[in-house]
Amino acid sequence: MAAHSAVLSVSKIINPFWGGRLGNTVKVFGTTLTSHRNKTQRAPPPAKYGGRHTVTLIPGDGIGPELLNHVREVFRFSCVPVDFEVVHVNSALETEEDINNAITAIRRNGVALKGNIETKHTMPPSVKSRNNLLRTSLDLYANVMHCQSLPGVQTRHQNIDIMIIRENTEGEYSSLEHENVPGVVESLKIITRNNSLRIAEYAFRLAREKGRRRVTAVHKANIMKLGDGLFLQCCREVASGYPDITFDSMIVDNTTMQLVSKPQQFDVMVMPNLYGNVVSNVCAGLVGGPGLVPGANYGRDYAVFETATRNTGKSIADKNIANPTAMLLAGCMMLDHLKLHDHASSIRNAIFTTMNENRLHTADIGGQGTTSEVVQSVMRIIQSKGQLTAEF
C-alpha cells in the first residue's frame, strides 16, 4: 500500500511539471502511473435531494415512448431511486427550441435516457438531425456498444463478443454541406487529431479496464489518405502507450466481409463515425437484431443511454410487439453509470432469465410474446428474488 501511495504522489509531481515537455513519453509514462485514476467512467452527478437521482428522459418517436414507459414501470416496481424528468422533442417542428430544452435538461442532470427522434425528409435540409445535434452539443464523443451472443437467441453465428467504440461527433456527421454550383453538392467529412486521439485513448482505456486483448481500428485510409490516415496515425500513437494490448487495423469493406463469415475474430473495434454506423448495425444484426443491444454515448461531463441501433421503429409502434430488451438493458447501463449496481444487476439478471431460461421471446427474435408479457416476466423474476418491490 505504501508503494501505491508513493506512485500516486510521484505522478502528482511529474504530470503537471513535465506535462507539455515530454510529449509522447509523458503519454506512455503518465498513463501507466495515473491509469488507476483516469477510469473510463466519470464520477456520477451528485445525488439529488433525499438520495434520489434525477435523469432526463426523452421519449422520442415510434417505439421510444412505449419502451421508456416500460423502463419507468420496471424501475418504479424495483424501487430504483431514480426520478425521471420528461422532456418532449417534437420532430415535426422546424425550430430548435425543443431540442435545446432537452440539452439544457441534460446539462442540469448529467444523465439521460432517450428514444430516437425522427428526422423527417419533408423538412428543408437546414433542419438538422435532432439526435446528432444532441450528441455534438453535449460533446458525447464516444458511442459504446457491446455485442454479445445470447444463449437463448437463435442466430447464424455463435460466440460473438465484440465491443465497438465509435467516434460520435465528427467525421461524416459534421453536417457541413453546401451547393456552390447548382446540381453539385459538397459534403465535408472532418477528421481532427484531437478527437481521433481522444476516441483512441477511450478505446484503449476501456479495453484495459475490461481485460480485452486486442483493439482493431477500422478505416479506409487507402482511399481517404489524409482523413482516415490521420485517424489511423492517432490510433497507432495511442497504441504505443498500451503495450499489453495488441493493435491492428482493417479496411472497412474487408471488415464487413470478415464480420459475416468469422465474427469471432474481433475483440474491441474503434472507428470514425460512419464506419461505426455500418459496423455497429452489422454486429447488432449478427447477435439477434435491434431489439437486443443497448448503447451508450459518453462525453466528458454527460452520458446518454439509448438502444444501440437507434431505430425509431415506426412500423411496430404502439402494437405491443416491440422488444423491450434493448431499452431495459440501456436503463441498466445507466444505473451502473449512477453506481446503482445492485439494481442494475437484478434487472439485468431478470431480463436474461426471461430470455435464456424462460425463452419468452418477442416476434423479432422468433417468438410470440408481447412486450408487456416480457416486462411482466422481468418484474415477476425481480420480485421472486426477494428484493424490495412496489405493488404490481
Binding site: 433542419v127 456527421y173 459534403s187 489524409l226 482523413g227 469493406d253 464480420l259 459475416v260
Partner: protein, 342 residues
Amino acid sequence: MYLGAWMQTVTLIPGDGIGPEISVAVMKIFEAAKAPIQWEERNVTAIKGPGGKWMIPPDAKESMDKNKIGLKGPLKTPIAAGHPSMNLLLRKTFDLYANVRPCVSIEGYKTPYTDVNLVTIRENTEGEYSGIEHVIVDGVVQSIKLITEQASQRIAEYAFEYARNNQRASVTAVHKANIMRMSDGLFLRKCREAAEKHRDVKFTEMYLDTVCLNMVQDPTQFDVLVMPNLYGDILSDLCAGLIGGLGVTPSGNIGANGVAIFESVHGTAPDIAGKDMANPTALLLSAVMMLRHMGLHGHAKKIEAACFDTIRDEKVRTQDLGGNSKCSEFTDAICQRVRDMD
C-alpha cells in the same frame, strides 16, 4: 447448324499474379461451350503519355473502344510506382460509372446464408472517393464528398434499366439522408425521379444502417440496391461475404458509350501464382455476366450451370473452396460438363 457463326470480339486483360492462369481457364471453358467469342489480349500497364500524364497503352484503349466489351483479371496495385492504380485509370478512361455485383448463393458452397439473390449497383465515379482532401490547419483534415445531379441521375436510371432488363422486381435506394441532408438528399431525389419513369419496378428507400442490420439477419428481402460510392463499396463487399467471399463473386463495370468491363474483384494472390492452385470461379462468373450483357443467354446458362454443378459435386474443388484439386482439374471438370450438356 450454323457454319461460320458470327463471332464477337472481346478485349481480354489477363492481369497479374493468378490473372493469366484463370484467364486461360476461362478461355478453355468458353471454347468447350462453343461460345461465339474471340479474345483480343491486351496489357494495361500504365505508360506516360505526351505531356507527362499517365494513361493506359493506346492499343488497349483502341481495342476497348472498338470491341466495347472487356474481361479483366486482377491487377497489381502499384506502391511507389509513381502512377495511380490501374483500376482507377481504367475507370477514368472509360467513364465506368456503374459497378454491378450480382450476389447469388452458390449451391454447394455452404455459408451461413442461403438463398441470397440480390444485386448491388454502386455509383463509381464520385461520392466519397472524389480524392479531394485538404489539411485545413495542422491536425484538422477535410475530405470532400461530391454528389452531382448528373451522376446521381445516371446511376439511378441505370439501376432501373437493369432491373427491367433482368426481370428484377424492386429497386432500393440506400442512403443516409437523415444526416447528409443535402448530398444524399440529392441522390435520393434523383432516384425518386427515375422511379417515376419506371413504374413497373417497385421503388423503396432505406437507411444504410437499416440495410446493414437487415442484411445480416435476412438477406432474402433485398433485390436490387442502388447507392453512392462509399456505401456501395461497403455493401457490395458485405454481400460478397454473405455468399462466400471475393473468390466467387462476379462484377461488372458499365461505362459511357456502351463500354462494359467485367472483372474478378479478388487480388492477384502472388503467393499461389503459377502453381495451378487458383480458383477461376470469380472470373468465370464475371464472364457469364458478360455473356448475359451481350444477350448470349443460352451459353451463359450452360456455363454457369456447369460451374455450379462442379462445385456442388464436391469431387473437384480448388483449395479455397475446401478441396484439394488443381485449377486445371477444376477447369477440365467444368469443360467436360459443358460438353456433356450438348
